[in-house]
């Protein structure tokens, strides 16, 4: 492979890579809104994590790994 061919290959790989990631990104947007519309998720409730952040604040979703050893 000549250096010019390698250079061209880099450009093609870059363009294809950028395209693939763009598609994944747009799919992510659709996924976020669709899952909320279907009632599977409620992303907005996580905004509360910054507000209710005391050690004794109510836990929004318990970490399942620690549920047993962190019970009061």
């Amino acid at each position: 492979m000549t250096s010019v061919e390698i250079e061209q290959l880099r450009v093609y790989l870059y363009v294809i890579g950028a395209g693939v990631v763009t598609v994944i990104f747009y799919y992510y947007i659709i996924y976020l809104y669709r899952s909320e519309k279907k009632g599977e998720k409620d992303y907005e409730k996580y905004g509360k994590l910054a507000l209710d952040d005391e050690l004794d604040s109510e836990i929004l979703e318990k970490n399942p790994k620690l549920e047993n050893d962190k019970k009061e």
Binding site: Y14, F25, Y33, Y43, E44, G47, E61, K70, E72
Partner: protein, 488 residues
């Protein structure tokens, strides 16, 4: 594992990094004002012999404000925000607690080494990566310890979901780790030269255009992962918490995060427009820089909308003022950067004073405003005292805002004047101006910049005084404030 009822968040490490942020802020910005004044009044270069020249002090300024002030701010806010949003105290793990102290000790050693070595003129000669290899290795250890503590806390968390600020802190850790290792790949010369040269000297593993590319991949992404990503982590926590308003759109915060992660890494080559790097790479740098407006503005607009219906707080609470203006400066800066990255604009802007102007409306208006307001927000919580003076904070805000405006407006005018004068040709194609002609014309703007910097530095001293007095003489608080920080 202790019961929540007897447990408290452990702020001892937070306090230590808060103080280093304050001290490095003063040191770094004092040097900044001095070197800005040297550009306006060159005789100031000769105050301290070789140690006081612009060339010796400029890397000291950039390194102290980046790795001293900003990184201290990142560590202080992470150890505060991380514990709170994960609902886990560092006191729950003696191991992690000890690691934070070890990290702080090593950080102090590295910071001292940085100041001494750069002061002596020992440098690897790479922009924003001037530290020589022994210090580079020490930084890696410090960073790895941070990672262990970060993921250790995540492993112990009570909340299953990581708040968006944590995503940004994790990205800071991973992004800097990757970029730092690549950019600082260097060969200590003494091991391969038969004992020639100083033991601390090294040579980059890259050369020529490759070196420039790696350098600006790092240089630009240092802006991304030190000046942007962790600062967004801060604003996503401190603004909602201080205002008592949940972030306007959590979904938008997630989209902006992934958008920023994907796009930022490709924009670095805009520093090398019109140079010897491949043309497609320059175009890629330009295109991605323009696209970068979207995720940047996504976060900034999300923050402004968080204040929806609560704009009265802007007049009542100086900390909200700082954070809202920080968000606005972030928008300004992330619009200005892409404009400069357009090839035709860059043909004029490159190498001119418009570039430091751009950098400083970002770092002074966005980064430092957020770090200072974060520290101020934390002060009543970690010292259990009321903020010492609201009026001092208000005055600081206006003095520093005027300082930033003077800084970037003078540099806009200086930069564009400079760019136009460098390119001016007469009817025969000869250059109209010599370099010294531009220097003479720019003198008033350099003076205005130095005055702007001095105003900002005055604000930093006011801030330091306010933090110190809060810690030592503020009215004691019985209860931790829930949202708005109490101030006298």
């Amino acid at each position: 594992m202790q019961s929540n009822a007897t447990l408290e968040y452990d702020y001892s490490i937070v306090k230590l990094y808060m103080w280093t942020a304050v001290i490095f802020g003063i040191v770094g910005m004092t040097i900044g004002v001095l070197i800005a004044s040297q550009l306006a009044f060159p005789s100031l270069n000769y105050l301290l012999g070789e140690y006081g020249t612009f060339s010796r002090l400029r890397p000291l300024h950039t390194n102290v404000v980046i790795y001293g002030f900003t990184v201290s701010g990142i560590f202080a806010t992470f150890y505060y925000v991380g514990q709170r949003v994960l609902k886990v105290s560092l006191a729950e793990s003696k191991f992690l607690q000890a690691l934070t102290k070890l990290q702080f000790g090593l950080y102090l050693i590295a910071a001292t080494g940085l100041v001494i070595s750069l002061g002596m003129g020992i440098t690897a000669s790479k922009e924003y990566a001037q530290m020589e290899w022994p210090l580079d290795a020490l930084i890696v250890v410090i960073w790895v310890i941070w990672g262990i503590v970060m993921f250790g806390l995540i492993g112990l968390r009570r909340e299953k979901t990581l708040y968006i600020s944590m995503w940004y802190y994790i990205a800071t850790f991973l992004g800097v780790a990757m970029l730092y290792l690549f950019n600082n790949a260097e060969v200590p010369t003494i091991f391969f030269s038969g004992g020639l040269g100083a033991w601390y000297h090294s040579v980059s593993m890259y050369a020529g255009t490759n070196d420039a590319l790696v350098q600006w991949w790092w240089g630009h992404n240092a802006v991304a992962f030190v000046f942007t990503v962790p600062i967004i982590a801060m604003i996503y926590y401190y603004l909602p918490k201080e205002s008592g308003q949940a972030v306007y759109s959590y979904k938008l915060s997630l989209l902006s995060f992934w958008g920023l992660m994907f796009i930022y890494l490709w924009a670095g080559s805009h520093h090398l427009l019109w140079s010897t790097v491949p043309d497609w790479m320059q175009t890629m740098g330009s295109v991605f820089s323009v696209v970068l407006i979207l995720p940047s503005w996504g976060s900034a607009i999300n923050m402004l909308l968080t204040m929806k219906g609560e704009w009265n707080q802007l007049t009542e609470n100086p900390l909200i003022k700082f954070m809202v203006l920080a968000s606005t400066f972030y928008m300004l800066s992330t619009l200005e950067g892409p404009i400069q990255a357009v090839k035709s604009v860059n043909a004029i802007a490159h190498f001119t004073d418009w570039i430091p102007g751009h950098v400083h409306d970002g770092v002074l208006g966005w980064v430092a405003f957020m770090i200072m307001s974060g520290i101020m927000h934390m002060s009543p919580r970690v010292f259990k005292r009321e903020i010492y003076s609201k009026s001092l904070l208000e005055s600081q805000f206006w003095i520093q805002t005027i300082g930033v405006v003077l800084y970037f407006t003078s540099m806009w005018i200086a930069g564009i004047t400079q760019g136009m004068m460098w390119r001016a040709v007469d009817e025969y194609g000869n250059l109209v101006y010599s370099f010294i002609d531009t220097v003479s014309v720019l003198h008033p703007y350099y003076t205005i910049r130095a005055v702007g910097g001095l105003l900002y530095l005055t604000g930093v001293f006011m801030f330091a005084f306010n933090v110190f007095k809060t810690a030592t003489a503020g009215r004691r608080l019985e209860q931790e404030p829930r949202y708005r920080s109490p101030m006298a």
